[in-house]
């Protein structure tokens, strides 16, 4: 197993290794035990869950590489879904609502960034406070009730609804099972990979998380980098929220609770360092696919839904140990 000549030794140096192994393991397990695992509708459902968690997680990856956390993404996700449903139902064009809601998300990100980099509150605390405050606003606003969407379907069709519905495809067409969110997820994977590894900004992100004093001494404005990342996190959380609002065409005030930790788990499973300075978007892709597949797959093999969080917890521990010890 420790044979250096095997390509495995090169492979396992990759930060994505743990997540990739986990992904393949569970893929085999579910394929063996779940009779309907390989159906189009099921694979599409897993992709849908992946996209909704993943669009947010790629941004969380960027932020974590720069050395900060954002626990408020779950609340930003929910309040953006809520605002979208509420304003859209009031008859405002959904395209306009979409832009407006993402601006709100960016503003919450800005507040997180200022609290962390200017005031000096550790991001864990700043964003925990923000998470609870925003969730509180959601409860006050909704009185605990769920709301249905009554607005136009432009944004839902562009983000969430199955191509089968929007393009009126026959159910035998594989394309009918795909959703725009799958395409957006793929697009964001590419965009964030390029951003992180092929731009000046990405280099500054890695340096900011890797060694903040060095980054500053070399002229990197680390506070600005982190603040921008908080804003990107807010916007992407908002995007995920609007996608899920567009899929269910309704919103409940408890929506997204626990999502912030699920995203961090997926990112860490994907090999991103908790201390910053290191991580890949591809790793996060595998982490997200793994987590989402476990969620979808457990339902498929008829396991109680409570198993989900326990198993994700075990995967998180397992992947972290692999990442620590196998390299």
């Amino acid at each position: 197993m420790r044979n250096k000549a095997l390509p495995l030794s090169a492979l396992r140096k990759l930060p994505e290794f743990g997540a990739l192994v986990g992904f393949l393991t569970f893929f085999v397990i579910f394929s063996a035990f779940g009779k309907s695992f390989f159906t189009l509708s099921n694979l599409s459902a897993i992709l849908t869950l992946s996209a909704e968690l993943g669009i947010l997680s790629v941004a969380v990856t960027l932020l974590m590489v720069s050395g900060e956390f954002d626990l408020s993404v779950s609340s930003v996700y929910a309040i953006c879904a809520l605002l979208f449903i509420d304003l859209g139902s009031a008859g405002i064009p959904s395209l306009f609502v979409f832009v407006l809601v993402l601006a709100v998300a960016a503003f919450i990100g800005l507040a997180n960034g200022v609290l962390t980099t200017v005031v000096g509150v550790p991001s864990f605390i700043a964003t925990l406070g923000m998470m609870m405050a925003v969730r509180g606003i959601i409860y006050i606003f909704t009185g605990g009730a769920a709301f249905a969407y009554k607005g136009d379907l432009v944004i839902p069709a562009l983000l969430s609804l199955r191509f089968g519905e929007t393009l009126r495809l026959s159910e035998t067409d594989p394309l009918a099972y795909l959703r725009p969110s799958h395409v957006w997820f793929l697009l964001f994977i590419i965009v964030f990979t390029v951003l992180l590894f092929r731009t000046r900004y990405g280099n500054h992100v890695i340096a900011t998380g890797g060694h903040p004093e060095t980054a500053r001494a070399m002229g990197v404005k680390t506070g600005r980098v982190k603040t921008i990342n908080f804003m990107i996190c807010g916007v992407m959380a908002g995007m995920s929220g609007i996608i899920i609002a567009g899929r269910f065409l309704m919103v409940s005030p408890t929506m997204g609770q626990g999502l912030e930790l699920e995203a961090i788990a997926a990112v860490v499973i994907g090999g991103t360092s908790l201390r910053g300075g290191h991580g890949t978007i591809a790793g996060t892709l595998f982490g997200v696919l793994l987590v989402s597949m476990v969620r979808g797959g457990l339902l498929m093999i008829g396991a109680p839904p409570y198993w989900y969080s326990g198993i994700v917890g075990l995967i998180l521990l397992f992947a972290t140990v692999i990442n620590l010890k196998m390299r």
């Binding site: 731009t199 280099n203 890695i206 060694h211 070399m218 404005k221 300075g277």
Partner: protein
């Protein structure tokens, strides 16, 4: 300081406090063209604070900085670098989990516009950093390797090579040989001499008076935030300098 020509760098009456601690008190410091100045003093004398003011990390509470006769104000390390002041630190300067060439160009990345996107020009940065290291005789396996795989001496060599590559006029070395072996230190001193020969002015901070006495033209001694001695090398011996640092007094030389 009554030269016909103004010195390359002049820092006048610099004071700086951190809370209740006064790190620097009315320090005046000058650096001439092509000069190597050794900045020495005991722990807490204010050496690092002085150069951090010069490299834009701290701003002084009082005092002024003149570069080639012109008054300058650095509000960030980037400002100082843009003005041609490069710093090599003892403990910071390189990001461990980043490749050599990315470290080399950190803060000054080269880009190439593809379509409308300015993307990193990886190949150019790799080639240039490789060339710069080769020209100084610094041998490394590959510039794409992470810094964390290198020895302390290799890291410090890369820091020094980087600081001279971008054409700085003033090079500040803050205890560059602190954690290095004898052989590695010798290598760094060679690089310093090489930079001096190419016309770079150097401020060299160290605890090792013998080491700095070898390469310096002039020695400045700080003691509790004040300048207590400013001697040409030819007017002093390492033993005398050590005595000044140890006692905090200059009497013996007067």
């Amino acid at each position: 300081m009554s030269n016909e020509q103004s010195p390359l760098l002049e820092m006048t009456n610099i004071s700086k406090s951190f809370g209740k601690i006064q790190a620097l008190r009315n320090v005046t410091f000058a650096l001439n063209r092509k000069e190597v100045v050794g900045l020495v003093g005991d722990n807490g004398a204010g050496k690092s604070t002085l150069v951090k003011i010069l490299s834009g990390v701290h701003s002084p509470d009082q005092g002024e900085i003149y570069l080639e006769g012109k008054k300058v104000k650095f509000s960030s390390p980037a400002d100082a670098r843009a003005a041609g002041i490069e710093t090599v630190y003892q403990d910071i300067g390189l990001v461990n989990r980043m490749s050599i060439y990315r470290n080399f160009f950190l803060g000054r990345e080269e880009t190439r516009t593809i379509g409308f996107l300015p993307l990193l020009d990886l190949r150019s940065m790799q080639e240039k950093s490789k060339k710069a290291l080769d020209s100084l005789g610094i041998r490394i396996r590959s510039v794409t390797e992470d810094i964390s795989f290198l020895s302390g001496g290799e890291r410090q060599s890369i820091s020094v090579a980087r600081s001279t590559f971008f054409g700085g006029k003033i090079l500040i070395l803050d205890e560059p040989t602190m954690a290095l072996s004898v052989r590695e230190s010798k290598r760094i001193l060679e690089l310093v001499a090489h930079a001096r020969d190419r016309g770079v002015s150097i401020i060299f901070i160290t605890h090792n008076v013998y080491q700095v006495h070898e390469v310096a033209d002039r020695l400045v001694v700080l003691e509790r935030g004040q300048k207590i001695a400013d001697l040409l090398k030819k007017d002093s011996t390492p033993g005398q300098i050590i005595e000044i640092i140890a006692t905090g007094k200059v009497e013996r030389l007067k």
